[in-house]
């Protein structure tokens, strides 16, 4: 890849369980304002915009209509990716390399607190003919996947609980986090069972928030920013969508997406060449499953590594120093945006108490949640 692309500006409103005082317009506007000031640009300079929105999580049946105003993208090239934030980031990356414009802006938003029937909306994503008639909670899909994962890799529920404890503790020092608390593994293990072996604490509560990221190609990035964060590799993959045809134990989507990103970044030994990672932990076991899928841990090694504190901030491979979905909140389409934001802040040295020492390369990985098998990975370095 001759030309390189860097992230030169980030902006967020932070993530809280509810944001009653602002509508989605003001929420996005605030994040965009901060990102543009951080990058030192104006909407006029931006060549293309990508917004991330899924209709039923916004409450519109065409959600992209309401994206241009808040970003200053009126009468400009903007479109919406109903996917994960990192899908949009990849779109912006490709648009810059195709010469659509030297600067691109990516936006994502979560207003989950406005969704009164959230569980039913997720059920509405399941196959209407073979799965929905059973009228079971979508959490049963996570429960079944967790059961198969524990069975195949020998990981224990205590190790999954350790993930919850670690992430909620890390979130305490993250000013943007919405669900931080100090608890022990017993609390997680004894919390109410939702869909065995998944308990209430294994599931990340949702949060509201917005993230805007500004990308720029090589020279423009160096001209505008003194600390550009380079996109070294990016990958995304959709595995088979059917519950009847998928692999229930492994996260194949994360494996393929990661390999694509590693190939682009020229990485052969992810465990050594990557310093830390923000990994999707919408459910506790997912962090472990994704670690193993991305060759950062061998099969069955993620649980023990977490147990001995290997993934703590002080551990050998820090994971989710920000608190992850469990500590910050599940942001649905914006999950990837939060991961990218936290990796950029770590690489810029802006995370305060959670700051890792002399890190150069970070990985952000996301998953689109139940019932999808769509995963994304991006590798950033300063």
């Amino acid at each position: 890849m001759a030309k390189r692309v860097a992230i030169i500006g980030i902006g967020t409103t932070g993530f809280r369980a509810t944001t009653p005082d602002v509508s989605y317009r003001e929420l996005t506007y605030e994040a965009a304002m901060k990102a543009y000031l951080d990058a030192g640009i104006e909407p006029k300079d931006v060549g293309s915009f990508v917004s991330t929105a899924e209709d039923f999580f916004e409450g519109y049946s065409i959600a992209d209509e309401y994206s241009p105003d808040q970003l200053g993208a009126v009468l400009k090239p903007i479109y919406t990716v109903p996917g994960d934030f990192i899908h949009s980031l990849a779109s912006a990356y490709m648009m810059i390399l195709s010469g659509i414009g030297p600067i691109s802006v990516v936006q994502g938003l979560s207003k989950a607190s406005n969704m009164l029937t959230l569980s039913e909306m997720v059920t509405f994503a399941m196959d209407p003919i073979y799965n929905r008639p059973l009228k079971e909670s979508p959490h049963s899909v996570a429960g079944m996947e967790m059961a198969r994962f524990l069975y195949e890799t020998g990981t224990t529920r205590e190790q999954c609980a350790k993930v919850v404890v670690k992430n909620k503790k890390n979130a305490l020092n993250n000013p943007y986090a919405g669900h931080s608390v100090l608890i022990d593994t017993d609390y997680v293990l004894n919390s109410q069972v939702v869909s065995y072996p998944l308990t209430q604490m294994d599931i990340s509560p949702h949060s509201d928030g917005a993230v805007v990221v500004v990308l720029a190609e090589d020279e423009t990035a160096k001209a505008l920013s003194d600390k550009p964060i380079w996109i070294r590799g990016i990958g995304w993959c959709s595995d088979t969508p059917g519950l009847e045809t998928r692999n229930w134990g492994q996260a194949i989507y994360a494996q393929i997406a990661a390999e694509m990103a590693y190939k682009m970044a020229g990485i052969h030994y992810p465990r050594k060449e990557i310093d830390f990672a923000e990994i999707n932990d919408e459910f506790s076991y997912k962090e472990l499953q994704h670690l193993e899928a991305m060759r950062i841990c061998k099969k069955g090694e993620a649980g023990p590594l977490t147990e001995i504190g290997g993934t703590e901030i002080t551990g050998e491979f820090p994971v989710n120093t920000s608190g992850g979905c469990i500590g910050v909140g599940n942001l649905y389409e914006l999950n990837g945006g939060h991961k990218v934001l936290e990796v950029v802040r770590q690489l810029r040295g802006e995370t305060g108490k959670n700051q890792l020492k002399n890190v150069t390369t970070g990985l952000a990985q996301s998953w689109r949640g139940i019932p999808t098998t769509a995963g994304t990975v991006v590798i950033l370095s300063n």
Partner: protein, 385 residues
């Protein structure tokens, strides 16, 4: 920047009610597209999917549900979405997957199954309006079209009888399209006598709701030259969204289509669109909309589109044929697949493979355009053979 060509295309029949599930419709179109250029699924490096509101097929995160039908099994797969403009945004999204150098081949699929919505797909359009300031008035999409058509007519003094000619032209053209749902020989009087939906819009002024899918295969230059001897190059892309406050804009002229077409013309190096574009497929969900978009696309001066229609310039035999395929009015309007059907029409016309829809005189430069949302998005693709 790498040149990207369309090398293959496939489409399903368009029906008001199809039995197939959305996955099966997507599969049929994708399979035909791959067979048309003798490529296997393993030759495809990434898949791009365009489909409009999930509220039609009735499946949340519809992009993921359709991934296996679109040939995206364990491949990089991404959905894009700009309402009605999705169909022509599909090749644009696919174009920069290849032009960026990330991939050499890309499968672009567009699908829509509107008949799942019960009792009528129109109900899904209630929730495209602002949920607080407009939805309590229970608006429907036909109102906003009629509001725009009224403004368009009262600004330029166009008459309904002239605008009705678009329906006559497109439905006659559609008689030759294999997927057509409403090909018919009608007269202006039929259009004016058809029942009033929302004056000034009558029933024959509107394109039907349909189920259908379409797919095309894109390839980088070195692959395209090996796969086909007649690659059709995507030389210009452009898209733009206007503000969502549609009541604050003067609806007589589509600024967003002008901005999108300027971007595409600049990229394709076109200075005189009305002369250099030989064939066009403007978006025609409603009769007046084709004229509205012809003006936005700079293919004629403002207020001159009806005269152009009356002079027969936009007939198949005219020197700037518009909607030779039969357009949404004739072939059918499964929202996202309509846009891709238009891109396919230009692909087939420039290769001289449009059968009895083929316009005379070898056209070498064509344009497809789609519109969407609250009178808000213009997506334009310029193609050359």
């Amino acid at each position: 920047m790498r040149r990207v060509a369309i090398v293959g295309a496939g489409i399903t029949k368009f029906y008001r009610n199809a039995m197939e599930t959305p996955k099966e419709l997507a599969y049929e179109a994708t399979k035909m597209a791959l067979d048309s250029c003798e490529m296997k699924l393993s030759d495809i490096e990434c898949v791009v999917h365009g489909t409009a509101p999930d509220a039609f097929d009735g499946i949340h995160m519809k992009g993921e549900y359709l991934s296996d039908g679109s040939g995206a099994y364990r491949k990089p797969y991404m959905r894009h979405y700009v309402g009605g403009g999705t169909g022509v945004l599909s090749p644009i999204h696919g174009w920069f997957h290849v032009a960026s150098g990330m991939f050499d081949t890309c499968l672009v699929v567009a699908e829509e199954k509107m008949s799942s919505a019960y009792p009528h797909p129109a109900g899904a359009f209630l929730t495209i309006f602002d949920h607080t300031t407009e939805q309590p008035l229970y608006p429907t999409l036909i109102w906003i079209f009629a509001i725009e058509m009224n403004r368009f007519m009262t600004t330029w003094g166009y008459k309904k009888e002239d605008i009705a000619l678009v329906a006559v032209k497109n439905k006659r053209n559609a008689l030759d399209h294999p997927s057509a749902q409403l090909g018919a020989e009608i007269t202006v009087k039929d259009v004016l006598d058809s029942e009033i939906m929302a004056w000034p819009v009558n029933r024959l002024d509107i394109s039907p709701t349909s189920d259908g899918a379409a797919a095309i295969v894109l390839a980088a230059e070195h692959v395209a030259r090996r796969v086909t001897e007649k690659p059709i190059w995507i030389d210009g892309v452009g898209w733009a969204l206007d503000t969502a406050y549609w009541c604050t804009r003067d609806l007589y002229y589509p600024d967003y289509v002008e901005v999108a077409s300027r971007q595409a013309y600049k990229m394709a190096g076109i200075k005189e669109p009305s002369k250099e574009i030989h064939i066009a497929e403007p978006y025609d969900p409603f009769t007046y909309k084709e004229l509205h978009h012809i003006e936005g696309l700079q293919l004629c001066k403002r207020g001159g589109s009806v005269q152009m229609l009356l002079d027969g310039v936009t007939q198949r035999t005219g020197n700037l044929p518009c909607c030779p395929s039969g357009g949404a009015l004739g072939v059918g309007n499964p929202i996202a697949a309509t846009g891709l059907m238009k891109v396919m029409e230009i692909f087939l016309q420039l290769r001289g493979e449009a059968g009895n829809r083929q316009v005379p005189g070898r056209p070498t430069c064509g344009l497809a355009q789609a519109w969407g949302d609250l009178m808000q998005v213009g997506t334009v693709v310029v193609m050359r053979s």
